[in-house]
């Protein structure tokens, strides 16, 4: 791994006049418009692409608000219907003593999405400014965010499964609330934001910084 105290000079693809394909990883000549290997369009690691990150992130944040304000589930048991928001559900689980489940839900629904927002925002910001975390650390962070992104839908899956399974007419019925849709959108937007982030920018920025320092 890298050693921040003794930064090693390295050559980025852009500096070498190459463009890496983000699909198949082939290093193409810098002038190529399309990947010579898989044919997908090649884009230079332009800082402008950060716009898309910010846009998706903003959309994800906007969607995250109703996901927390509106009820996630509408449970009807013997004619009594109750609606639970995310936080409310967690509080209820907690008050019922199901600390484990409450913790899982808390992590899946609150901690991870928020952490993702923060992580993507941090990554996006760090391209422009010097960051405390080294380039390698940020790459790892990016990979973690990308990996975890698909698991963020676990809440939505639970709601979907419950809704499909618990339709016992009068005895018990579960209907998804508006928050479920919002949450799904929020997760989708966050994933798109993570997707839009071009990790090459990390290295470009690194090399620029190094060049500046040099």
């Amino acid at each position: 791994m890298e050693n921040p105290e003794n930064p090693q000079r390295f050559l980025t693809a852009a500096a070498a006049g190459l463009a890496g394909c983000r699909v198949c990883g082939t290093a193409n000549p810098g002038a190529a418009r399309a990947c010579t290997c898989c044919g997908s369009p090649l884009e230079p690691a332009a800082p402008a692409s950060l716009q898309r990150v910010w846009a998706w992130l903003a959309a994800g944040l906007v969607a995250y608000v109703p996901a927390n304000v509106y009820p996630m589930l509408r449970t009807t048991t013997f004619g009594r219907s109750s609606e639970n928001t995310l936080i409310g559900g967690i509080a209820e689980l907690f008050s019922h003593g199901s600390y484990g489940v409450a913790l899982i839900v808390f992590f899946a629904s609150i901690v991870i999405p928020v952490a993702k927002f923060l992580a993507i925002a941090y990554l996006a910001v760090s391209v422009r400014r010097p960051a405390a975390l080294g380039s390698h650390g940020r790459l790892v962070l990016y990979e973690v965010v990308e990996f975890i992104g698909r698991w963020s839908m676990i809440d939505v899956f639970v709601v979907a499964i419950l809704t499909a399974l618990v339709q016992l007419d009068f005895a018990a019925a579960i209907a998804p609330g508006m928050a479920a849709v919002s949450f799904a959108l929020s997760v989708a937007f966050t994933m798109l934001a993570a997707q839009s982030f071009d990790p090459r920018l990390i290295w470009n920025a690194e090399s620029e910084n190094l060049n500046d320092h040099a």
Binding site: A14, A15, Q51, V65, R80
Partner: protein, 694 residues
Amino acid sequence: MTTPDPAPMNITARRPSLWRNLSLVWLVPLAALAVSLGVAWKAYSERGVLITISFENASGIAANETTVRYRDVVIGRVEKVGFADDLSKVSVQARIDKEIAPYLDADATFWVVRPEVSARGISGLSTVLSGVYIEGSWDQAPGLSQTAFEGADRPPLAQPGRGGRRITLRTDDGRMISEGAPVLFRGIEVGRLETPRLTVSGDSIVVDAFIDAPHDRRINSATRFWDSSGFSVSIGPSGLSLDVDSIASLVAGGIEFDSVFDGGQTVGPGTVFDIHTDEAAARRTAFARTLSGGVAVAVAFDESVAGLASGAEVQLRGVKVGEVSSLNAAIQSGSDEAEVRLIAKLLLEPGLMGLPRGAGEAEALDFLEQAVAGGLRARLASAGLFSSELLVELVTLEDAAPAAFNREAEPFPELPSAPSDLPDFTATAEGALERISELPVEELMAQAIATLASIENLAAADSTRQAPAAAVALLEDTRALLADPGTRALPGELQAAVSDVRALLADLQQGRAAANLAAALEQGSQAAASLAAASDELPALVADFRALAAKANSLEAEELIRSASQLIDSADAVIGTEGARALPPALTAALEEMQATLEDMRQGGLVENANATMASARGAADAVAAAAEGLPALSARLERLVAQSEALIASYGGRSSFNSETLDALREIKTAARAVSQLARKIERDPNSLLFGR
């Protein structure tokens, strides 16, 4: 590989303008924001109105769960359950749909629907599992909307906007009424009672009732209410009668009403009606009430008025034209001594006497004056064959003592009275029955047996064997007499008479006694005629006895002659009385005499004629026994009559209201049972229906 040249544009490129380089992706968060804001605005703008309902307690009400419904449609939800400022009440805050809010004006009421089991049924079952909900009711016109309401404990009897009329009922006895008890009109529920409450003075109980439209139109000044709860058993001329109303009203109490006379006027709000104890009492008041337009006259009776009560009918040729309003004694100071007279105050309804509608007191008094001049008198009459009650009859008597209608008498115009012919049919019929029962049939039988024993003793005696041929002839004659069809027919006649009497009694018991009076009298006379016919058979018997005596006379037995003539006298007495009553004693006496005679004969030395005498005596005994056989048959007939009477009374029920009431009650129970089983079947088939209340 050559050393790559750094791309100059990478180094020199300046960031272009932010706006020019703006990505289309920004539309996504903008759209998301717009949608979110839109949804939030919609939710906010469509947010209902927060109202506060205060209840005594919040049993079952939970924030965010309990719904507010109108006609069973959810229109809101409880948001908060708290207390009033001084903790005296529970205040429930509920958010009501915006469209509904304008209707929540001063007449809106709210109550909590809970499962309830009462005598009138089960309600609110669907709330057992789903929890209670708040039901509201208001009229269909938007008004000045309010946000604070008093919640009721129970559903209001008359929900706002429901057609009908609220009336107030008054009673002395609060036991027969309970909240929610039905108000019936001819057995159909048309309203409900509200909570009974004591008046301030505490001497009576008032209860509001709500009569649903369109039945509230039936309430007018002629309407009377009575208690229809419980059941009553009465025995009267028309038989045993059991009155049972619906099971529900039996348990919860019920009030029935009807218009007891025509032409009631509409009553204004605030009219208070009395609840009468039963229908008869309620109908009786029709006179007392309407006779404000009726005519009061007084009648002074010289005889006992025991059995005449206030409320008794006044009849004109069998039609009720009024009733006795009051009875009191008045001291009338005559010329020399004070005289106590019983004055009955009669209230007469001119309309019922055939006077034109609207005829006033003057017309009625004119009519009475004219009628009295024509012989109209008031007299006491029996209300029924088996009743000791009396009524006042207005009759036109041809030979009435002259009297005048005293219009100026105080306090009421006085109608002359006539002596009643009260020793009436009842007494006659009772007397006849008494006399029949007094017939000493048993004694007659005993006497006959004793006589036969004497005859047998006589026959067994040695001296009888010495009896002359005349004695043989005598005995043969005796046998012939006893074998005579006439004698044998006697029990048959008696039976016929008894059966006639029985038919008479049956007719009497059939009810309609008053109507059948003439027929009953006819039957009675037929019975008497039958008895007479039975008696008519006696002369033959007597003649035979006379012949027997003549024969005995030739035996030179002084005692025999004397007793035989006594027998003739007795038999004559039997004929002379014409009454069946005298018959048995006379026969008994005759047989006694005969016994004495035969005793004497046995003691006097009679010629022996053993075999013939024995044969004759046995023949005679057989004949007498054959004749006597009829008498047990008679008593058997009587027994059977009793049994038949019992059977009659038993079978009576077939048509009586007792039976029909019982059957009705049974039918009702059966219906109830069927309803329960239907309910059970429905629940079995579709438990959800119970839970959903559908």
